[in-house]
């Protein structure tokens, strides 16, 4: 019996009258690579945003390592507007801010790269270590945390080394080519010591060669860092190559789930997604 890292139950996100995610239930087990696919606007990123605490779900529950971390039910204005199902099943309001979720061990990357643009490659990773500090503002200002600072710098250097970014560590992050910027975002996420890594379209904008490299890279970091990975992706070769399981979303709702083979032969998926866009 494998350990359940992430479990999402009946997750619904509704903005005004628009249901972006509709009663999504899914899970990710320890060590798995799970992909979330679906056409644009299917609600994949919105689901990620809910898992990481950026958006508050309208209804549903999210558990991390068996512990309830996020829960909500339709209240206030949403009470009347709510169009999803499972109303009344959840009773609690648990809305942690994103930093709290990250602290538990969930790290993410962004679809549209969000590096800290004025900072060097090195500092982008180093800043992500800030969360694991033991210093407070006084000890940090007066350099009483020198040992910790040194350790963080060493760890950062090591991480950059592993990810092949050490040579460019002093460059401003915006000067990197696109592929390396994506890789830096992953490095930054890894610096927070995550157990679960959420990748939002890691291969977006990459050519087939780069995508192939990335496939290998994701597999490698999963093993090296003992990670569990959940990713949103459009490149089907990447998804089918690497995923243990796949969830397919369309118009906010789950339309299929299973292993890559099952998904590839699933008629609903083919109709909704693969059939329309064979090149994706």
């Amino acid at each position: 019996m494998s350990e359940r890292v992430l479990e999402i139950k009946d997750l619904t996100l509704q903005f005004g009258g628009v249901v972006a995610v509709n009663s999504l239930s899914m899970y990710v087990d320890k060590g798995e690579i799970v992909s979330l696919i679906g056409p644009n606007g299917a609600g994949k990123t919105t689901a990620f945003n809910a898992i990481t605490g950026l958006y508050v779900p309208t209804n549903g529950q999210i558990l991390f390592e068996g512990k309830k971390i996020i829960e909500n039910y339709p209240h206030g204005k949403m009470k009347k507007l709510y169009a999803g199902s499972e109303n009344g099943k959840y009773k609690e309001r648990l809305e942690p801010t994103p930093d709290k979720v990250t602290k538990l061990g969930v790290a993410r990357t962004f679809q549209n790269i969000r590096l800290w643009k004025t900072q060097s490659v090195f500092d982008n990773v180093l800043i992500a270590k800030h969360m694991r500090r033991t210093s407070n503002v006084f000890t940090a200002t007066f350099r009483l945390n020198a040992a910790e600072e040194k350790k963080q710098r060493e760890e950062t250097a090591e991480l950059l080394n592993i990810l092949g970014l050490y040579q460019v560590k002093d460059q401003n992050c915006t000067t990197l080519p696109y592929g390396l910027q994506r890789r830096l975002e992953i490095a930054r996420a890894l610096a927070t010591d995550p157990k679960l890594l959420l990748l939002d379209e890691p291969a977006a904008g990459m050519n087939p060669q780069e995508t192939l490299e990335l496939t290998e890279f994701i597999g490698r970091i999963r093993d090296d860092f003992k990670l569990t990975v959940c990713m949103i992706e459009h490149h089907m070769d990447l998804v089918m190559n690497i995923s243990d399981r796949i969830y397919v979303l369309n118009f906010g709702a789950l339309i299929a789930k299973g292993t890559p083979e099952e998904i590839q032969s699933n008629p609903t998926v083919i109709a909704a997604y693969l059939g329309e866009d064979k090149n994706a």
Partner: protein, 294 residues
């Protein structure tokens, strides 16, 4: 009835001040809607309008000098935009704002130089500066005229924005600056028009305001300007109806506070009100809710 009687003058004064603030606030909110710029110099444009009336009135009859000053203020607004903001169109937002503060500084110092630091007095304008009696309360006629003028001008403005070509262009630009530009909207003329309209309204507001409070000093635009800006934020900056409603609320509250004998706090109260509103509605009464796209 007694309460009504004692507070009526303050209520009337409040409606009147509110109307004057509304005329200034529109200039703030329109510029913000289009350029996302807090035009700190707007309060000083308001002051300059008054000085122009004062100086031109010594050569020209009032019925000429007031319209001339109003038109000149429109030109001033146009010139300020061309000199101080246009060169910074692509610069970071902070630069334009600093330019606005610098412009405000320049206008105040110019006024200081021209007036020699002496308080100038606004000429009484026949008819609107006359005293009248309403429900047993003595007041100047301007108190009654202001809300009417304000409402008429706002209706005119709303019609311009709704039905004319430039108005449609304005709405397009405030919705999405870049797309509007790509669609062939002449950004520069839209922005100029915005500044001209804002300044014209401020000039009218200034005529009404200083018919009531006649002393004009170089920094006199500061407080009414700031309050009009607060009114614009209060209503949700960028929204014209918001600015107008905000202005009336602030004008009335401020004068009622004065009526209660808390004159020290009449300015501060405006801000208390603002902060309370912002605590519950972080983008004002009618402001657009912003959600960050991830």
């Amino acid at each position: 009835m007694g309460f009504f009687q004692t507070n009526l003058p303050y209520l009337l004064a409040g409606i009147s001040t509110g109307g004057q603030y509304a005329l200034i606030a529109i200039g703030y909110t329109m510029v913000y809607g289009i350029l996302r710029l807090i035009n700190f110099a707007h309060g000083d444009v308001f002051m300059c309008a008054a000085l122009m009336v004062i100086y031109s009135a010594s050569y020209l009859p009032l019925y000429v000098s007031v319209p001339v000053a109003i038109v000149a203020t429109g030109i001033l607004g146009f010139a300020i935009e061309r000199v101080a903001y246009k060169p910074l169109r692509t610069a970071p937002r902070m630069s334009a704002m600093i330019s606005a503060i610098g412009m405000s500084y320049l206008l105040q110092n110019l006024a200081l130089y021209v007036t020699g630091g002496l308080t100038k007095y606004y000429p009484p304008i026949p008819y609107i500066s006359d005293s009248i009696e309403i429900f047993g309360a003595m007041t100047k006629r301007v108190t009654v005229i202001t809300p009417i003028v304000t409402v008429v001008l706002i209706i005119a403005l709303v019609s311009i924005i709704k039905y004319t070509k430039i108005g449609i262009a304005m709405r397009a630009v405030s919705r999405d600056f870049e797309t509007a530009q790509l669609m062939g909207v002449k950004i520069n003329s839209v922005i100029s028009a915005t500044f001209v309209i804002g300044s014209l309204l401020a000039a009218v507001g200034s005529t009404l305001f200083f018919s009531n409070y006649t002393g004009v000093t170089p920094t006199v635009g500061g407080m009414p300007g700031l309050k009009a800006f607060v009114a614009a934020v209060f209503g949700g900056i960028g929204s014209i109806p918001g600015a107008v409603i905000g202005a009336f609320i602030i004008g009335i509250c401020e004068n009622l506070i004065k009526g209660l004998g808390w004159t020290t706090f009449s300015d501060a109260f405006t801000f208390v009100l603002l902060i309370i509103v912002l605590m519950f509605m972080p983008t004002g009464l009618f402001g657009e809710k912003t959600t960050d796209r991830v």
